[in-house]
Subunit: 204 residues, 4 copies
């Protein structure tokens, strides 16, 4: 993906998501060291999307970060190749990622041809999830996202929690509250900062 | 699913799978205590199917067992409701079940309406997998199958291995060898035997 | 362990734990079908012990259940052999069971000689945990307890939650609240009931 | 830990382990960018130790790497603080790390005070394991090591396999064979290389 498309998409995504990305990172002249953070999510009720926006906010607050926020069906192999960091978000279905997110990872081999030669190698990965109740599989879902990343030789970090950022959205705690959103922001910030370190280190 | 259909499917599946099910369990008059074992799998290369046949053989060797072997797209909610035990097999894609198997479990809520009221409660569950290399996610895939079962209040057992039956099928160890097939049989036997115990116990 | 000792320990444990076990199950003449439920836990702050008591209450409410509640260091190989169901509780340390609980499981091989010949085979297992924050490893800890049980050929059930019963006990939600205690009771009830089924089925 | 001690220990460990560390990294004047790789393991039969030596060899082949190989009981909080990368190896006991390794991680909080303020933050982590049979918990053990690292805000990478390096050492495949040793070397190389990147990036 060329830079123009990346910026355009970032803008489009931010509008679609009702989120104003800070001008510093997405509109200013991109310095050589810019860190491209791709956030891919699946959302049916809007809860995971809200978390995704929090992750984007957090990542966007990091100097030099350029953030793209996308629904899982829209993410292309080119974008995956172009990013420095990838943060994947999913609702928890039966203690595991949604089928849509699983199909996305399956496509890394079948469609995007990223697995061969480990084309995602050394990119930074993170995970966020939403689940109906407290211990209903949020951790195992984040772990399953991490596993897919590790097997592709990405480097995994946590942020906003032990494994990543998570929100409980069922009857006992409906929707995404401010503390959960803050965890999402912390994850975005953490992944972007660590990706900046590895990007600088890769160039030296 | 009525009994007639169950027997018919068992026959059809065994032919489709090139497997002669022992007459004792599938053709003789079914005693009251018959144990219905449903084996659902996804297979692209034929390896997971071969394991599925081994699981069916093992289950079928248990007195009173009636075994149905089905590709994941064919399994119905009615069959899931009717079975006493369910054994699910998947190739390992990125350290997790194939998207097709994930979609199958997602359908327990979305399509089959089994999750509400825990309609699979107390049925016995087991898992088998095939993976390209030794430690590439076979265990985590079996664990993800177990998790989906546990959250539906099934009872999970191992068999043929610490978590279930597994086969390494990549370049270093192509196809399913006799030891792996033996593990598959052990899983089928174990699940059917334990399901027989719980079925007897539920009636007393 | 003989019956007399089992009852005595049950009494001692209930006093130690500040819990009055219902007379029906622990003091009345034990019918042939009695189900022995052993609850083993580690607790430093008292939170996991409180959950353990909830589990005991829930199990004890099941007709025919005889419940023993023990700290992990006191559980003997004889008791493990004698029980029909085992429920293990641990605080979450670094997304995994406490070292004390890990050492307990290691002793199943090293000290109690239960692993050889799978002496715990077909006993029913469950797990409960307490953790400082919401998604800090409670699920992975329950999964690690389940894994130890499955490898010993126990049958695992959930209860009180997707994997088992859990409580968040850190600053944001100090101590064990009534909803968490209710989950603990649900786990105890579920495990005892399922163990009763398998015990009846094993005798038929 | 001061540099002198680090070098001395590296030498001592290499002798103890019967391994000659390449002079380039451990004896030559250490350039500013040296990457300290600490390998901590538990071994009873010698298999995990052999893998640890392979990991050390692999790490040591990376330019600028200084490698320390230590038994788990000997590793100090000072060494943990001083390292840039930590690779932890364990035999698989009941699908989980050995109690000795669990106690080591528990000590990160209880004894070494590393958890508070996330003192291990951004250090690179990896895992290796040995297990008696193919799918007996090697993956779940590596995952449990990763989880402990992630919760301490380390960054986790794989190497030598989907999760890390593993060896099957039971009756069907006794000892550590050359392919498994090669996986160990690949893990050491991978972790050291990635740690070099992040170390350079942290200084820029």
């Amino acid at each position: 993906m060329n830079k123009r498309k990346f910026l355009k998409q970032a803008g489009a995504a931010s509008v679609a998501a009702g989120l104003v990305l800070a001008s510093r990172s997405s509109q200013a002249q991109a310095p050589a060291g810019d860190v491209k953070v791709l956030i891919v999510y699946h959302s049916v009720t809007g809860n995971t999307e809200k978390m995704a926006q929090g992750v984007a906010e957090g990542a966007n607050g990091v100097s030099g970060a350029r953030v793209v926020l996308e629904k899982v069906g829209e993410a292309t192999g080119e974008e995956l190749l172009a990013c420095d960091a990838l943060i994947v978000g999913s609702p928890v279905y039966y203690a595991n990622m949604a089928g849509e997110i699983k199909a996305f990872f399956d496509n890394w081999g079948l469609k995007f041809h990223l697995f061969t030669d480990f084309k995602m190698r050394n990119k930074i990965g993170g995970a966020f999830v939403t689940g109906g109740s407290i211990s209903n599989g949020k951790e195992t879902t984040m772990q399953s996202i991490h596993a897919a990343m590790l097997i592709n030789q990405m480097s995994v970090v946590s942020g906003g929690g032990a494994f990543g950022a998570s929100a409980t959205t069922g009857p006992d705690s409906p929707g995404v509250d401010e503390m959960e959103l803050e965890a999402a922001r912390a994850l975005g910030k953490r992944v972007a900062e660590f990706a900046a370190i590895t990007k600088r280190g890769s160039k030296s």
